[in-house]
C-alpha cells in the first residue's frame, strides 16, 4: 500500500543571490571561506541550496548571526522575494492525498492569493506588517476582507475574537497602531496573521526589542496557538532561548548555508558544527 507523506512544506535547494555571480563564486563564498560575498564580483550569496521539510503542526527554528540568510530564506517562504533556484513544495494539510504544488511556479496573481489565504507572517518591525494609518481592527480585518468577507458586523466580531485570543484589549479595536506598545503590536500582527487560519505561520525575530516579561507573554501566546490550532510555523531568531522554547527542530545558518540541522535539544546539547558550538557556548 502506498504511504501518504505527512509533510506540509518541502524546500529543495532554495537559493537567492544578489548580483550576477561569476565562475569563481562557488569557490570563494560559504562558511569555509567565512564570507557570503564574492570578493571577485561582489555578488552576495544570501541563501544557498537550503533544503528541509516541515510536518503539520511542526515548529522549525532557524538560527544564525546577522547576515546569515535567515530573513532572506523567510522572505522566499513568504513569496515576497524571488528565488534564483530551488523549489518550495506545498501540500494542503487538510488534504494530504492532494498533489503538492511548487509555490515558486505560481504566477504572481496566484502567489498573492496563496499568501493571502494560506500564509501568515509576523515581522520583527511592526511597521512592516501593519498599516499604521488604519486602526488595529482594520489591520486584522484586511486578511478577512482579502478572504472575501463582506459583512462589517461579522468582520468586527471575528477581529474582536482574534484580539481577545491574542490578549489584546478588545475595546481598543478602533485605535491606531502607534498608540499601542511594542509587545501589543507584535500581538496585533499575530492576530492579523491568524485571521485567515493560515496553514503556515512565519515568525521573524518576533521577540527582538521586547523586554523579558513581554517577551515571555508573546512566546506563551505563540506556544498556545501552536498547541491549540496545530499551525505549522517557521521561527527565525538569533536567540537560542526562544528557539529552545518553541522549536522541535532547528537549522543553523551561516553565510547563507545550512551548516547543521536536527532536533533542537540535540543541537543545543550536542552541537556538531564548530559554528553551532560557538553559538551555543555564547548563549550560555
Amino acid at each position: 500500500m502506498k504511504s501518504i507523506p505527512t509533510w506540509v512544506l518541502r524546500v529543495d535547494g532554495l537559493t537567492r543571490r544578489f548580483g550576477v555571480g561569476c565562475p569563481r563564486c562557488t569557490d570563494s563564498v560559504g562558511p569555509a571561506h567565512e564570507r557570503s560575498q564574492c570578493p571577485w564580483c561582489a555578488t552576495v550569496h544570501a541563501c544557498t541550496a537550503a533544503s528541509f521539510t516541515l510536518a503539520r503542526g511542526e515548529v522549525l527554528g532557524i538560527v544564525g548571526e546577522s547576515g546569515s540568510g535567515k530573513s532572506t530564506l523567510l522572505q522566499m517562504l513568504n513569496l515576497t522575494s524571488p528565488a534564483d533556484a530551488g523549489a518550495i513544495w506545498y501540500r494542503e494539510p487538510t488534504d494530504p492525498a492532494a498533489p503538492p504544488i511548487d509555490l515558486l511556479r505560481l504566477d504572481r496573481y496566484a502567489m498573492r492569493q496563496f499568501r493571502n489565504d494560506r500564509l501568515g507572517i509576523v515581522h520583527q518591525r511592526p511597521e512592516l506588517g501593519l498599516e499604521m494609518r488604519f486602526s488595529v481592527g482594520g489591520n486584522v480585518a484586511e486578511k478577512l476582507l482579502l478572504a472575501r468577507w463582506r459583512n462589517v458586523a461579522a468582520i468586527r466580531e471575528r477581529a474582536a475574537s482574534l484580539m481577545h485570543q491574542t490578549e489584546l484589549p478588545v475595546e481598543r479595536i478602533d485605535d491606531a497602531p502607534p498608540t499601542f506598545s511594542g509587545g501589543m503590536l507584535q500581538r496585533v500582527q499575530i492576530a492579523r496573521a491568524l485571521a485567515s487560519r493560515p496553514a503556515l505561520l512565519l515568525l521573524d525575530e518576533v521577540t527582538s526589542g521586547l523586554d523579558l516579561s513581554v517577551q515571555a507573554r508573546v512566546l506563551d501566546l505563540i506556544r498556545r496557538i501552536q498547541w491549540e490550532q496545530q499551525v505549522t510555523m517557521v521561527l527565525v531568531s538569533h536567540d537560542l532561548g526562544v528557539i529552545k522554547q518553541l522549536a522541535r527542530r532547528t537549522i543553523v545558518m551561516k553565510h547563507g548555508h545550512i551548516v547543521e540541522a536536527g532536533l533542537t535539544d540535540q543541537i543545543l546539547e550536542d552541537p556538531q558544527h564548530p559554528y553551532t558550538q560557538l553559538l551555543v557556548s555564547s548563549a550560555l
Binding site: 496573481y109 498573492r112 498599516e131 489591520n139 484586511e142 476582507l145 459583512n151 462589517v152 468582520i155
Partner: protein, 282 residues
C-alpha cells in the same frame, strides 16, 4: 462646408493613432489603466485634455457631438470644448442626448439610457482609486497587477466603522469585470449604476496623468459595498426639479435672486438636456 484652418481634429495623426491603440487595449482589458503619451493642447491640463484627446482621436465627420460639464450643456467649459472640437472638425453639434453619437462629459452621465451606437467620453482628474491608500505609483501598479485590493477594502471598512456609512460621495470605487479596481471619476453615486451592463461604450481619459481606461458595453461594474452596508445612490426625499417637476433625477441647487432682491435656493435637474426635454412635453 465649414472651412478648416487646422489639421482635422487638431492633433496630428500619429498622436491620434496612439490614442486609438491605447483605447483598443483599454477596451480589451476593462478597467485597466493604459498609459498614453498625452499631448499638449490649447487648454490647460486638468480642464479635460484627456477626454478631449479621446474625442479628437475618435470623432468622424458624420458624428454628432454633445459636450456637457456638470450635466450642463451651457457651462463655460462645455461651450469652450464644444467650440474647439467643432472648429477643428466641422462636426454637427447637439444638446439632445438621443441625437448625439459622441458625448464628452465631466461629472455626469446623462439621465437617459445610452444606446449601443453612442460613446460617452469622460474627463478624468484622478485616475487611480488606490491613491487614497497607496500614494506610491509603482507599488499601486503592482497591487493592480496582483488584484491586491485588501487595503482599499479596509479603507471602506474604516469608513463604515468611523462614520456608520460608506462616506464616499463621488469618485466611487468599483470593480470592473470582476478584476480591476477603477475610479469612476467625479460622477456622483447616482450615475455609478449606469455603468453596469450598459449598452454604450464608456471611455475615460486623464490627460494630466496620461492614462486611458474603458468600460465596454455589457460589462459588470460593481461598486465596493458590504452585505450589511450596501452601496446607495443619493437620496433626496421630497425634492423635485423646480423646472420640470422630476423627482427621479440627480438634482443640483442654485442660488436664485428674485425680483425683490431676495436670494433663495432652487433645486433643478443637473442634466439640462433631460430637463428641457421634460419641459417640452405638454
Amino acid at each position: 462646408m465649414h472651412e478648416l484652418h487646422y489639421t482635422y481634429g487638431l492633433i496630428d495623426e500619429d498622436s491620434k493613432r496612439e490614442v486609438r491603440r491605447a483605447l483598443l487595449k483599454a477596451v480589451a482589458l476593462p478597467g485597466h489603466q493604459v498609459p498614453f503619451a498625452s499631448r499638449d493642447l490649447p487648454i490647460a491640463r486638468g480642464w479635460g485634455t484627456g477626454g478631449l484627446q479621446i474625442t479628437l482621436a475618435l470623432i468622424a465627420p458624420e458624428d454628432v457631438l454633445k459636450v456637457i460639464d456638470q450635466g450642463d450643456d451651457e457651462s463655460v467649459n462645455a461651450v469652450n470644448l464644444r467650440r474647439l472640437i467643432a472648429q477643428t472638425t466641422g462636426v454637427s453639434l447637439t444638446a439632445v442626448t438621443a441625437d448625439a453619437t459622441v458625448i464628452q462629459t465631466r461629472h455626469r452621465i446623462p439621465e437617459e439610457r445610452l444606446r449601443a451606437d453612442q460613446i460617452l467620453v469622460l474627463q478624468v482628474p484622478m485616475v487611480d482609486p488606490l491613491r487614497w491608500v497607496e500614494p506610491n505609483l509603482e507599488r499601486a501598479t503592482v497591487m493592480h497587477g496582483e488584484a491586491d485590493y485588501g487595503r482599499m477594502w479596509v479603507y471602506m471598512y474604516e469608513s463604515v466603522v468611523r462614520a456608520g456609512d460608506l462616506r464616499i460621495a463621488t469618485q466611487y470605487p468599483v470593480i470592473v469585470a470582476d478584476r480591476y479596481l477603477m475610479d469612476t471619476t467625479p460622477i456622483p453615486r447616482w450615475d455609478v449604476p449606469k455603468l453596469h451592463q450598459a449598452d454604450a461604450l464608456f471611455l475615460f481619459g486623464a490627460g494630466r496623468e496620461k492614462r486611458i481606461y474603458a468600460v465596454p458595453p455589457h460589462t459588470s461594474v460593481a461598486p465596493l459595498e458590504f452585505e450589511d452596508v450596501p452601496f446607495r445612490v443619493e437620496y433626496t426625499p421630497g425634492q423635485r426639479c423646480a423646472r420640470c417637476g422630476c423627482g427621479d433625477s440627480f438634482l443640483t441647487s442654485h442660488a436664485v435672486s428674485d425680483a425683490d432682491g431676495a436670494t433663495r435656493w432652487v433645486t433643478t435637474c443637473s442634466d439640462t438636456s433631460f430637463c428641457a426635454a421634460r419641459q417640452a412635453v405638454p
